[in-house]
Symmetry: C2
């Protein structure tokens, strides 16, 4: 599983962690329900998660489109905006889980957060 976070948002590390956790839980639950085999393989391999950064909303949406074209499930996270940022701000994108080498083909070029 890869979670892409917008580096143009000026958020504290606890807030970033909560948003990334939203994406991870959403991706895990939907995959558990819809793609049992992929989910089980991911769990068996230690539910790996990699957090990368994208420059902003444009790059996040381009990555989302590309991941979906390649057949990956994505979960876009929008903050409730109770603290730090306006309500409805898109903060991050969860991709997968899936075969590590296959996700890497899409996300491997991005720097870690």
């Amino acid at each position: 599983m890869v979670i892409a976070f917008r580096k143009d948002l000026d958020l504290g590390k606890g807030k970033i962690a909560a948003q990334v956790a939203h994406a991870a839980v959403a991706c895990a639950l939907i995959t558990e329900k819809k793609e049992r085999k992929i989910f089980k393989a991911w769990m068996a391999e230690g539910q790996r998660k990699v957090v990368i950064r994208v420059s902003g909303l444009d790059e996040l949406y381009r990555l989302k489109e590309r991941a979906e074209m390649e057949g990956f499930r994505t979960c876009l996270i929008t903050d409730a905006g109770l603290t730090q940022i306006p309500p409805g701000t898109v903060t991050c994108l969860g991709i997968g889980p899936g075969q590590e080498e296959e996700i890497d083909r899409i996300t491997g070029e991005f720097p870690l957060l």
Copy 2:
């Protein structure tokens, strides 16, 4: 759901986010399986997550014990240690999900990460 992170570990924000996400996914999945009603209520309320900080391992274990005595599920996260910290380092603790006011009684005194 509350995730308590050790502030004595010198980790980057992407690494922190991945560890917190491990805790959130672990707590969500076990609660989904074992306490369906609590899980559904948490999902319906927007799967709220709060990330707090504890001073170190001692405080993390004390919090774990207290949360379990109060009837909450906990998930202790140990890093595989491939980067930044030694293998087997305990990084954070997931608590819940559960009734917000009830978890707050245990974790409300801790600062946000």
